[in-house]
Each structure stands twice: as C-alpha cells, then as structure tokens.
C-alpha cells in the first residue's frame, strides 16, 4: 500500500497513470521524429564520418600524423580515452550503485545514463586501439594460445589490466542495460501498430511474456548484475589510473590516483548526464519524469565528487612540497607556472570552483546554470587528464629531453569525431529505444484514488 508522504515531492509529477507513462515513452518512438532530430543526426553523422575518416588516415599513415614526439608519447589519445571512460562511470553508478542503495529517483535517469555509458565506453575503447603503432596486431594483448611457444602477455602491465577492465566493464554494462530494456521492448512491441516495428521489437524483447516468472528472474538478475557492476565503478577507473600511478614519472607516480580518478570519473560522468538529459527532457517532454529534484540530486553528487577532486588537487600540491623530492616539486611548479599554465588554470577553476557553486540552492535547481556548469566541468575534466599526461611527460627527469607538445588537426579531428559518433549513437538510442525505464518507473508511480473521489 502506498501512502502519499507530504514531506517529499513525488518522483513523478503531473499525476500520471500507468498508461500515461507508457504513452509518454513509446509515442516518440512510434511517431515521426521531430525535424530537429534529423538535423542533429545529419550534423553528428557528418562529424562522425569525418572522425572515422581521420582514424583511417591515422592507421594508414602512422601515429606521426598526431603531434606526439619522443618525449610526449601520449597526449590527446590517452586524454580522450580517460575522459570517455570517466564519463561512462556515471551510468554504471546510477544503474548499479544507486540500485543497491535503493535510491528510487534513479529510475527516471538510469536508462539513458546507462546508454550514455555504453556509447562512452565504445568511444573510450577506440583510443587504446588507434593509438597503437600497429593496431593490426592488437590481438597480441589477448592471452590466447599462439604459435610463439604460446607466449603469454605481460600481466605486470597496467595497459593489460586496462584491456581486461574495459572489456569487462563494457560487457557487464551492456548486459545490464540490455536486460533492463527487455520488458520495455515488450511494452513497445505490444503498443505499436506498424507490423515492421512490432516485429523488430519482438526480436529485441526476446519474446518477453510479462509472466510473474519472467519478472521474478528479471529482478534477481538485475540484482546480481548490479552487484557485479558496482565494484566495476571503483575498479575500472582505478585500473585506468594505474596507467599513470605505476610509472616512475614525477606527476604520475602517486598513490592518490585511484580515488582521485574514480571520483573525477563520477564527477565528469554526472556532468555529461546532466548535459544530455537537460536537452532530452525538454525535447521529448519528459519534465514530469526527469524533475528538478532529479537534476538537484545529480548536482549534489557533483558537489561531493567535485569536492573530493578538489581535495585531491590540493593534496597533490602539498605532497609535492612535503616529499622533498626535487623532481616532484618541479613537476607541480611547472604545471602551475610553466608553459602549460593556462591548461592548469582551466582545470583548477572548472573543477574546483564550479562544483562549489552548487551549494547554492538557486544554482543547483536552475536548469540553465546546471547545463552551462556541466559543460564547464566536462571541459575542466578533459584538461585535468591533459595536464596530468602532457605536463608530466614534457618536462621529466633529464632536461635534455624536454620538449613541447602541440596537437595537430588530426588530434582535434578525431576527438571531435568521437563526440560526433557518440551523439549519433545517442540520438539513435533516443529515437528507437525507450529512454526511460518504463517498468521501473511504473513501480514507483504513487497514485491514489483521491482524484476519483467526488468532492
């Protein structure tokens, strides 16, 4: 029995009924897409093709078309990789961690957030692939029997841990997301009239019948997968941070990275979710489901994780002095005042100052402010990875090797291309997949018979 608590605002506004929920989500799929969708698809499609073209150019000609050199072996490639993986963490946290914490507000956002994760991880996985000098031998990283006397891979290497981490992350996220979609596909199948769409969603829903047994298994599996996915939120980005933490380079060699990176990932992920969802809720008229409350809760997560990141920055600065290691202190002085001081400034202001603004209720409940600040956060987080990677490498131990890094148009083009591919995929998702978790939302719909009582 559900009783209406006066203390909290309802999670679904507008006195919706079960039918309303279904219609609100399935109608955009069934009906013709608005013109804006086609335009955005075209734009993102073109950008995506441009990016793919440049990737082919890179693979065909060589890593030399990027701006890397003998001293700075990684720059935009790994920055982009970590940025995309970080973004992905929000979806998993929302889907899995918040499920285990029984936070019902997650249900309006988890489907699209998880979709965002899938696409972000796909974009992330591109980079370790294309950054290889010989991508056609990428299968060497897999421990499969071979004719080199069966040569194993090097389990000491963080890059190899990345291979396992990212592939595990991708597969678990994909399965979790897809399993959640099955009942919703069935709903769509039952509702749509076009025989082609009916058949398509029938295939996608694996013949879901809605029987109690199905639901039973569904909920058990969801719990198991949530249990599997939760540690991934913490482990995957910790492993990604090991790419740097296990090295000897000053600025990389630090134990603070795992918690720093994980909180940074959730931080940037939630910011990206905000960016996407604020647009999506407006254009698909989902304001009743993705309410100001949801936006506010997500902003609170941003405050928490952003503050952790801010504390981590300050800790790094302190330790660089306290350690007494001249290379470490030079690395941070160089970051703040050297040739890339501008990147450090962007990083600090965007990541440390911005989330603190959300302490003000007015700002954290303002849609415009949230949208703008979320973009600032993502830019800041990109620069954080750039600063970590490039400023640590470009001036390390031996002054004779010091150099600068300058990106080329190929660096830029591929990055923008991945944003294009990501948007393209997300738009496809928004058009053809249920953007809200129908079945879950219906479970938190609080309705009572009051409105039927004649006054």
């Amino acid at each position: 029995m559900h009783s209406l608590a006066e203390i909290r605002e309802p999670l679904i506004l507008g006195e919706k009924s079960y039918g309303d929920i279904t219609n609100d989500v399935v109608d955009p799929i069934e009906n013709k897409a608005p013109k804006g969708w086609y335009i955005l698809m075209a734009i993102s499609g073109i950008i995506a093709l441009y990016g793919i073209g440049l990737i082919l150019y890179l693979i065909g000609t060589g890593i030399g078309v990027w701006g890397l050199n003998k001293t700075v072996g990684w720059a935009w490639d790994i920055t982009n990789f970590v940025w995309w993986v970080g973004i992905g963490h929000a979806g998993t946290l929302i889907s899995a961690v918040l499920l285990l914490f029984r936070q019902r507000w997650r249900m309006a956002i988890n489907r699209s957030a998880e979709a965002m994760t899938i696409f972000a991880v796909m974009m992330a996985a591109l980079f370790p692939g294309i950054h290889m000098g010989r991508i056609w031998l990428a299968y060497f990283v897999f421990p499969i029997p071979n004719e080199f006397g069966s040569l194993w891979v090097n389990f000491n290497s963080p890059l190899l841990w990345d291979v396992f981490a990212i592939s595990t992350y991708f597969s678990v996220s994909l399965i979790f997301w897809y399993i959640g979609l099955i009942p919703d596909f069935a709903t769509i199948r039952d509702k749509v009239k076009s025989p082609v769409m009916k058949k398509a969603y029938d295939v996608l829903s694996f013949g879901w019948s809605g029987r109690a047994k199905n639901w039973n298994r569904f909920e058990e599996v969801s719990l198991v997968l949530a249990g599997l996915a939760t540690p991934l939120v913490f482990s995957v980005h910790s492993i990604v941070s090991f790419d740097f933490a296990t090295s000897v380079i000053p600025g990389w060699h630090t134990t603070i990275f795992p918690p720093y990176f994980v909180s940074g990932a959730v931080f940037s992920g939630f910011a990206m979710v905000q960016t996407l969802l604020l647009v999506m809720r407006k254009t698909m008229r989902l304001e009743s489901y993705i309410t100001i409350k949801h936006i506010e809760y997500m902003n609170i997560v941003i405050i928490v994780t952003g503050s952790i990141v801010g504390v981590a920055y300050i800790t790094e600065l302190f330790i660089s002095w306290y350690s007494g290691v001249e290379y470490e202190s030079y690395a941070f002085l160089n970051r703040a005042t050297g040739k890339y001081w501008w990147a450090y400034t962007i990083m600090m202001s965007a990541n440390v100052l911005t989330p603190q603004l959300f302490w003000f209720k007015k700002i954290r409940t303002s849609l415009i402010a949230t949208f703008l600040l979320a973009i600032v956060v993502n830019i800041g987080m990109w620069f954080e990875r750039f600063v970590i990677i490039v400023t640590s490498l470009h001036r390390d131990y031996l002054p004779s090797s010091w150099s600068m890094f300058y990106p080329t148009w190929v660096d830029l083009g591929i990055f923008i291309g991945t944003i294009g591919i990501f948007l393209f995929l997300f738009l496809l998702f928004a058009r053809y997949f249920p953007v809200l978790a129908l079945n879950e939302l219906k479970s938190i719909l609080k309705s009572n018979g009051e409105k039927y009582v004649k006054k």
């Binding site: 003998k70 000098g133 090295s247 000897v248 490498l393 090797s401």
Partner: protein, 1065 residues
C-alpha cells in the same frame, strides 16, 4: 636429419627423358581441354550463360589472384669458385685509409657480401692510433650515392674512356706546342705515388726547361699561415706534428683542435690520453676563443675574446714569458684581455718543455708569435716535432690566386681539377668560373657533376676511396695504404690511372704503387712481397723517422708582427665575424651525407642548417628569439660585411664573445641545383625539396665568399654589421633545454684537486633513502631499497655494461654516426627533427652551467618559481658537459614492466631486449623511461614519401649500406640502443669457436669502437678483470638517476676538471 637416398618417381625421372622433362613444365599432367572448351559454340547459346559467365569470371579472377600471390622468385646465385675466405653471412674486414683533403685516418672497412657497410678506426695497427671522427665513419654512405657520375662525360654527354684519353692527350700536346699552360689543381696530395705520377706527367711535358705545366695545391681551408711562419722562423715550410699527449699545459688561441683544426682526429685521441684523472698527470687546457667551439667546451679555463684580440692574447702571453725567461717584448698598441694570462704564463713556465701553445688563426704574424712562445718554452723537440712534420695542408693560397689570374687571361689551355671543388669554395669563385670558361680543355675528376663539375668540359669521375688503390704519408716516416673494398660500382676510373695514361705509361696504378714501393723500400728490410702483404694487411708501414735536430728560432722573423697585429686590432669594428667549420659538415664535402646533416652540432644541437651565432647577451639586446623549439623559430638577421650581404637565422650561443658573429662554412652547396646528392637540399614539411625560382633550395648558405683573400686565406672579418630583420626561420634542434637545472643525480662534476684530496662523499655522494629500521631513521643506500627480488646476475654468466667517462668525452659525436651506420637507424629530415622526433639511439646531451642553482636561490631568497626560471638560462660564459646517453639497460627497467605484450624484456646477460616483431606500439615504455632513450617509428621511414629525399633506406643505391645483421624496423615499432647485441652474439660465437672465454675488449659496441678518446667503454661487468668493472668500482662512478631505482648497467664517471675553483671563475 635426412638421408642421402633419393627416390625416383619412375624410370622417366631417373633417366630424365625428354618426355618427363616436358611434363615437369606443365602444371597438370593430364591434358586440360581449355581450347576446346573456349571454342565450344555451345557457350554462346547456353541458357545459363550469364550464371556460368559469372562463375567462370569469379573462378578466373580467384585463380589469377592466387597465381599472382605466388612468392616472388629471389635468385640466389652461388659462387662457381668460392674465394676461400668469402663466406656469405660473415663479414670481411679490409684495412684501408681515409683521406679527403682534410682528414686522414687509418680505417678498417667492414664488408658483407662484397659491400662495405661500416667503417671504424684501425686502432690496433693504424696510424694516429686509428682515431676517427664523425665525418670519417659516415663516409661509407657516400659510396652508394645514386647521384654519383656513372661514366665519363664530355660537355654533359657520355664519352668512352678511350675517346676521352685520346682527345686529352691531343689537347695536352696542342697546348705544349702552342706554349699554353697546363695546370693540375688539386687538394693537398699526401700520396707519394700520386705525387710521383703527377711529377712524371709534368716532367714529361716540361722536359728539363720551362714550367708550362705545374701542379697547384688548393686547400678548401687553408693552413698556409703556419707553414709560412715556420718557414720564416726555422727555415722550413712545414706543419709540425703536435703532441698534445705530452703537454701538461695546453693553451689554444681559437684552435678547435679537437674538432676541425689540422689533424683533429689525431689530437682527440691524444687529448683523451691525458684527461684521465687517474693517470699520472692530467693536462690543463686553456682556451681563448671567440665562438663556443667543441674544443672550448672541454677546456678547464675558457676566456671569450674578439677575433681581433687573438694576436694581442698571443703577444700578452709572449711578453710575460719573455720577461721571465729572457726575450724581447713585442710592442702593441692595445693591451689584451688580462683575465687568466698570469695563471696561463705561470703554468706554461712551470711546465716548460711539456706545454703546448697553438693558434687556429691563419695569420702568419700570430703564428710567428706562437712559434716564439713555444720556442721560449723549449717545446720544440718534445710537444712539437718539426723533424717529422705532417704532409697535409700544403695548399699555396698565392699560387691559387695567380692561377685564377692566368685562367682569366686565357693563358691556361688544360686544367685538371682533382679532389677539390673551387667553384664552390673559392672566395673568388665567380672569377674562377669566368676563368674556367676560357680554359679550352677543362677536366674534373670529381665524383659528381658538382659546382665545378658542371662547368668543366670533361667529367672523368674518380673512384670513391673505398674503390681505390692508394698510398699515403700523412706524417713523414709513416705510410699507409688504401685498398679497394669493392669493385668500382660504376664506369669510373682512378684519377691516377688517367694521369699515368696521359704520361704515356701503360701501367695500372696498382702496379705503379707496388713498383714505387719496391723501389724505395730498402733491400735490408726483407722480401718486398712479405713487406707489401704485411703493409696491406695492417694498412700501414713505418719507415725511419728523422732524428730530432736543433731548431733555432730566427728572431728576425718577428719584425713585421707588431705592425700586422696592430693593424688587425685597429681595424676592428663593432662586429667581427668568424668563419668556422662544423663537426659534421666540415668544409662542405659531406653536405650530401644525410647522416652528417642530421648529426646535431655538438654545441648548438641544431641539424640541417647553418646560421649566425651570437652571444646570449647580444641576442637579448637585439630582441631576437632566445628560446628555440618546435614552434619557436629563430629570428632572421642580415650580416653586412666586405660589401656582401647575407641573411640567415640568428642563434644565441652561451659563451660566445659579445660583438662577434660566427657562421659555418660548408653549406649552401648546389646553389644551381647541381646533382650532388639529395641530402644537400633543404626539405619542407612534406619532406620534399623546397623549390625556389625553379631550383631546389640548398641547405644553408655558402659563406666561402666571406673568406679573406690576402696573402693567405683567413677566416675572420673584423668589421661587420648585423641586424635583426623581419621574419622567422624554423630551426630543427634535438635539444631545447640547455641547462641541467641543478639536478646532480643526472650530472656530476668536480675538480682534480677535490678528487685527489677529498673523500668520495665530497664529490660523488652515494644516494641514500631514509628508511625506518626498528623505529630509527637509517639512511640506506638506494640499491638496498628494493621491492623486487634480485636477478641472479652477479657472477653468473656475462653481464654487459658500459662506462662513460665524462672527463674524456669531448662531444665529437663519432659514436652517434657509428651507431647509425651499425644499426640501420633511419634519417628523418629537418621537419621531423624540429618536431622532436629524431631517431638517434645514442645522443650526446650537452649541458651548459647556469648562474643560478639551489644554493644561490636560497641565499638570495628567491621563490622556487623564479629560481627555476633563472636556472633555465645558461651563463654568459658557461662550462659545458657532454653526456652521451643511450639505453641504460636497467636491471630494474621501468620500461619492461609496462609493456602489455612483453615486447621488451631483460636478458640473462643484463641487456634490455627490444623485440620488434612483438611490439604493437603503445609507447608506454617510452613514457616510462626516465632517461627518454626510446625512439618510436612514427611513420614508415622506408617507404613514406616524406622521407624519400633523406632516408638512405629509400634510395635503391644507398640501401646497400644497411647492415644485414640488424632488422630494419617497420612503422609503429619502438626501437632503442641494443648495446649492439648483434656484435655481442657474434663475439660470443667467435669465442666459442675458439673454445675460450670472451676476452675483455674483444666485443665492442659501435659507439665504443668509434670513440677516439675511449670515453665510452663496453665490457663484461661479471669479468673480474674487465675494464668496465674496474671503472664501475671507481670512486668517480655513479649511476644516472640512481634514486629512481632502475639500476642501470651504464656507469658514468664524474667529470673532473683541472681547474682550481668552481665555475672556472
């Protein structure tokens, strides 16, 4: 393991019947009715025609592509009669000699399958202890230049040798009869047999009377000042042998004796012998110079002076010595810089008889003063040997000038040009060229149709020195032979053969050499064949040396000196110019050698260009760009001197004297697009030659027109103007940070005094880390703080290691080119170098001192930021360290743990291995290398168009120089120094075949082999008696970045300078 039985398919095969042989040719034994099928009319009427057609089409396409996929046929043609010693896969070494008119060296040439691929010094038997420099070991590449002339030419058209000989003999006869002159213009010939051949030729024309025909010697860089000074001082026009290894005090006034002055490759060897802090004594080196030269960067005391002050410094030293040892002062109007002169004089006098004063100026007056100084000090007979002088640099600048006059007056009918390129390097080249037009029969023996060669009527290309027989006597009493290591690649002929032919001799030059040697070697020495074979095997022959005579200095020679030096110093203007030579390019001969163009200059670390060097203070005052890097181009400046204007990029060099400009000779080759080699022309961002006004742009600019034409060529201009102009110029440097930032775990220096008197902790403190042991803080040596288990390397098997002595590394970079040659390292061109993507496995880091360090920063109370900022700026007169850096083969390598596919592993013998075929190119290893010694193949250097003009591996001829023992890496793969593992394996195999353990010194890496001063040494650290083990245990030994815990196998020896105080203040 097979049997030797052979099984026959049938009688037909056994008997090899014609039918059987025919059937072998056919693909299928049965007859396939192809013809019938295709001619079948039913095909046209078939109802299923379309489908069948597609089937057949698909089949035939598949069959064709399969057929096309067959393995290409590579023909391996075995010897019919195999020479006994020629085993394919095993190298053959020949002793030969290198001489290009400027450097002489005894070399060993490594050939594989009949191709020379590597050159090293003949250290064991060769003259000058086999000392070489970067130009010499890179010369193997010029053998395979596809732009060499392949056959004789007349007027640009092919002509046969016989035809050419005939015409020329006629021309000579015609000239003789018409009373016109015949001249041979050549570089200094130190070959006695060649000289004899020429003499024979000339005598044949001249007979007993007249001098219609003569031989004019022209040196691209002239040292005639020394000869004429010695002639005046001692009555003998010689250049003496200098013994730097007997000099306890060396004073050099602008002589770059380690890099380019006289027999610098010899002096480098000698210098290395006496810079050992553990030796009986260590020489003390004072350098007075304008530019920061490689030699000056190694000096214990260095004073920057203006070129016009060179004579004044010499006179100041002379006068002070004269006042103490008895001599007449030379009066001058201006007093020289007083810094250090007292100390210099005190040291010289204290080491009388074992000191040496030299000058790099070609002014006779300055050389006279230097002679007097050495004479007063009693150095003749000990550190200077006039009795057995060197035979190089016999160029007579006056004769060259008069030849040019004669040519312009139309008096010369036949001119032969051998071993020199006057149309490029003469200061008055335009006059020479106009004179050349008036010579009816001009002949060039050059290997290229170069600046001179395109202007002569005949081009009779000489053999490359690796294809030639020759003999040399660089120093009186010492002889060397050169033998061909490969048959002439093209239809070329040795110039000496031509001379002999035109003298009417029908003898090969080889026979002529043997005949000459037979004639002159005394009978008592033994059987000629034995002597000859031994000389050929070792490359050298020693004859008697002249005993030391009493040399009396003719004081009268000093008469005009005062006036001459006064006039120089009074003519000095605001700016003075010094023309110098770079270590890689030298006088310009090797401008077409991509290895040398890509070799970073030891001081500026700039490749592929020449430029104006000015002092740091001047550059700041002029508002020029001080910081140079990938997107930080140099400012342009225009120099106006002697009525000539020239614009080049402006490079600030710490240590250069304010008010001076330096610019390197040897650039600007091929000004008219002559075919002298692809690497002589500048490439742009796409790697293609830059075309300006339809001509390819040469690398740098030719500054030979700025050479002073006086009685002798001098390389200073005393009155010039220079100013910044608009525009910038991209510069390709391999090093953009020039100071060590006070990181003493990378670089350690001390003074001889400190080393001899104080504890190790004072000059080479051990790295310790504070570790808690039982609640107490214990400073523990780094080696004992270890997460990893010990590899069992100590005492087990080999443990290859190196010792690099910073006291003896002079920065000559011969090791860098040796490494390129041995390991097939690609050349990447200017644009890639600018983008910090050089491929040097071994580099020489050059660090200047800064005025700022942590101590001073603390004292001044500067904040950290400001302190580090100031530390980046070199001092105005810095001291310099050259630090060779290659893969340290760390025992706890940070690169090995991070490769995801285990492409880089550690061998049982201590080497860090790089497995190219496993590498997928993630570059984590390079990122994690604290020493940044790894190099990535960013592009396909072997095929991508950006490298077609610079990388030898892309040239069909030049790729013959590649070492077959070393893989040529593909795109996307990481590479680095392997400690020449191919040599280690070969050495171990040799020892195994002998049945003996590996002897210390038997295996040498290419860099250790090339090093003239033995700064780089390689050996087995587990061999108790090895050199490197002793060095590793020395008090001076340290490991670079020891506290990072990588445990390198390369030990550096702290740099010891022989100066009393720090910062040579």
């Amino acid at each position: 393991m097979g049997t030797t039985k052979k099984y026959w398919a049938g009688v037909e095969e056994f008997q090899q019947t014609p039918g059987f042989l025919e059937s072998q040719e056919k693909e299928f034994n049965e007859k396939i009715p192809v013809e019938e099928f295709l001619n079948d009319e039913r095909l046209d009427s078939s109802t299923t025609g379309r489908r069948d057609f597609l089937k057949f089409l698909g089949f035939s396409v598949a069959a064709a592509s399969l057929a096309a996929c067959e393995t290409p046929v590579i023909k391996a043609i075995p010897y019919l009669n195999k020479p006994e010693e020629a085993i394919p896969g095993m190298p053959l070494w020949y002793a030969s000699s290198f001489y290009d008119g400027h450097d002489f060296a005894s070399v060993l040439v490594k050939t594989r399958e009949g191709r020379p691929i590597h050159i090293k010094g003949n250290k064991k038997y060769g003259l000058l202890k086999g000392g070489i420099n970067a130009r010499i070991n890179s010369s193997v590449l010029s053998l395979y230049d596809s732009e060499r002339l392949t056959h004789p030419l007349k007027g640009g058209e092919e002509i046969s040798w016989d035809q050419a000989d005939q015409e020329i003999i006629e021309a000579i006869a015609a000239a003789k009869s018409s009373g016109k002159k015949i001249r041979i213009l050549s570089n200094s010939i130190i070959s006695p047999t060649t000289n004899m051949a020429i003499q024979g030729f000339l005598t044949g024309i001249n007979g007993e009377e007249g001098a219609l025909a003569s031989h004019v010697t022209y040196d691209t860089v002239s040292y005639s000042g020394i000869r004429s000074a010695n002639n005046k001082s001692f009555g003998k026009s010689v250049i003496p042998v200098y013994r730097f290894n007997k000099a306890k005090t060396i004073v050099s006034i602008s002589a770059d004796f380690l890099g380019n002055w006289l027999m610098s490759n010899d002096y480098a060897v000698q210098y290395g012998e006496v810079r050992n802090p553990d030796g009986d004594w260590m020489t003390r080196h004072y350098q007075f110079e304008t530019l920061m030269s490689m030699t000056g960067s190694n000096a214990d005391y260095r004073v920057a002076i203006k070129p016009s002050e060179e004579g004044l410094v010499a006179i100041a030293i002379h006068n002070k010595i004269a006042s103490q040892l008895g001599g007449v002062k030379i009066n001058v109007d201006t007093i020289a810089v007083d810094e250090h002169i007292d100390q210099v004089v005190a040291d010289l006098i204290a080491n009388r008889g074992s000191s040496l004063v030299v000058s790099g100026s070609n002014e006779e007056s300055i050389q006279l003063v230097v002679n007097k100084i050495n004479s007063l000090l009693g150095n003749y007979g000990s550190t200077i040997d006039l009795d057995n002088p060197i035979n190089l640099f016999t160029g007579n600048d006056e004769e060259v000038s008069s030849l040019v006059k004669e040519m312009n007056q139309g008096e010369v009918a036949v001119l032969m040009i051998y071993g020199t390129n006057p149309s490029y390097s003469l200061p008055n080249a335009s006059e020479f060229n106009s004179g050349l037009e008036k010579v009816s029969t001009s002949i060039s023996f050059g290997l290229y149709a170069d600046e001179t060669g395109v202007r002569t009527l005949y081009n009779l290309p000489d053999n490359h020195y690796l294809e030639s027989w020759n003999d040399f006597t660089p120093i009186s009493g010492d002889y060397a032979l050169a033998q061909p290591a490969i048959s002439p690649l093209y239809n070329t002929r040795q110039a000496q053969e031509s001379i002999l032919k035109w003298s009417g001799k029908d003898q090969s030059y080889y026979d002529y050499i043997k005949e000459t040697w037979d004639f002159y070697i005394p009978e008592e020495e033994g059987l000629f064949t034995d002597i000859w074979n031994k000389a050929l095997l070792r490359g050298v022959y020693h004859s008697e040396k002249m005993p030391a005579a009493e040399w009396v200095f003719n004081d009268g020679s000093l008469q005009g000196v005062s006036a001459s030096i006064n006039s120089i110093s009074s003519s000095a203007g605001a700016w003075e110019v010094v023309l110098y030579q770079k270590t890689g390019i030298g006088d310009g001969r090797s401008a077409n050698n991509p290895w040398l163009q890509e070799l970073p200059d030891p001081i500026t670390k700039i490749t592929w260009d020449n430029y104006f060097t000015v002092s740091l203070a001047d550059a700041v005052a002029m508002g020029a760009n001080i910081y140079l890097g990938e997107k930080d181009p140099a400012s342009l400046a225009t120099l106006v001197v002697n009525g000539q204007e020239m614009t080049l990029p402006l490079i600030p060099v710490p240590g250069q004297k304010s008010g001076s400009v330096g610019v390197a000779l040897g650039y600007g080759r091929g000004g008219n697009g002559e075919r002298i080699g692809k690497a002589a022309y500048q490439t742009g961002e796409d790697g293609q030659h830059i075309i300006v006004n339809d001509l390819p742009l040469p690398v740098g600019k030719n500054v030979y027109p700025l050479v002073n034409l006086g009685n002798s060529y001098t390389y200073r201009q005393y009155n010039a103007e220079i100013a910044i102009v608009e525009g910038t110029y991209p510069i390709a440097l391999t090093q953009t940070q020039h100071t060590i930032m006070d990181r003493d775990s990378v670089l350690r220096e001390t003074t001889l005094n400190t080393y001899k008197t104080e504890d190790k902790e004072a000059y080479n403190p051990a790295h310790t880390l504070p570790i808690h042991v039982d609640g107490k803080l214990v400073q523990t040596p780094v080696k004992d703080v270890d997460l990893w288990a010990e590899h069992p390397v100590e005492g087990v098997g080999h443990r290859w290691g190196m010792s690099i002595d910073l006291s003896t590394c002079i920065g000559c970079s011969a090791c860098v080119t040796a490494c390129h040659s041995e390991n097939n390292v690609p050349v990447v061109g200017k644009d890639e170098i600018r983008r910090a993507r050089d491929m040097h496995w071994l580099r020489i880091d050059r660090y200047f001192t800064s005025d700022m360090n942590k101590e001073i920063g603390d004292e001044l109370g500067l904040g950290q930021v400001e302190m580090y900022r100031q530390m980046e700026v070199p001092s105005n007169n810095p001291t310099t360290v050259h630090m060779p850096m290659m893969c340290q083969h760390c025992n706890h390598a940070s690169c090995e743990t991070v490769c995801p596919v285990a492409a880089t592993t550690h061998s049982m013998e201590g080497l860090n291995q790089m497995t190219y075929n496993r590498c997928i190119g993630t570059r984590y290893c390079a990122n994690n290398c604290a020493y940044k010694v790894r190099r990535f193949n960013w592009f396909n250097y072997n095929a991508y168009s950006k490298f077609s003009e610079v990388n030898p591996a892309q040239d069909s001829m030049a790729r013959m120089v590649l070492n077959p023992d070393v893989v040529v890496r593909s795109r996307g793969v990481m590479e680095k120094c392997s400690m020449c593992v191919q040599r280690i394996q070969a050495g171990k195999l040799d020892a195994k075949k002998e049945g003996e353990p590996v002897k210390d010194g038997a295996i040498q890496t290419a860099c250790a082999d090339a090093c003239p001063t033995h700064a780089i040494q390689f050996g087995d650290l587990n061999d108790i008696n090895s050199n490197v083990r002793k060095k590793a245990k020395s008090n001076l030994a340290y490991l670079a970045l020891e506290e990072v815990g990588t445990q390198p196998n390369v030990y550096y020896q702290t740099k010891v300078r022989n100066n009393d105080n720090e910062n040579n203040a």
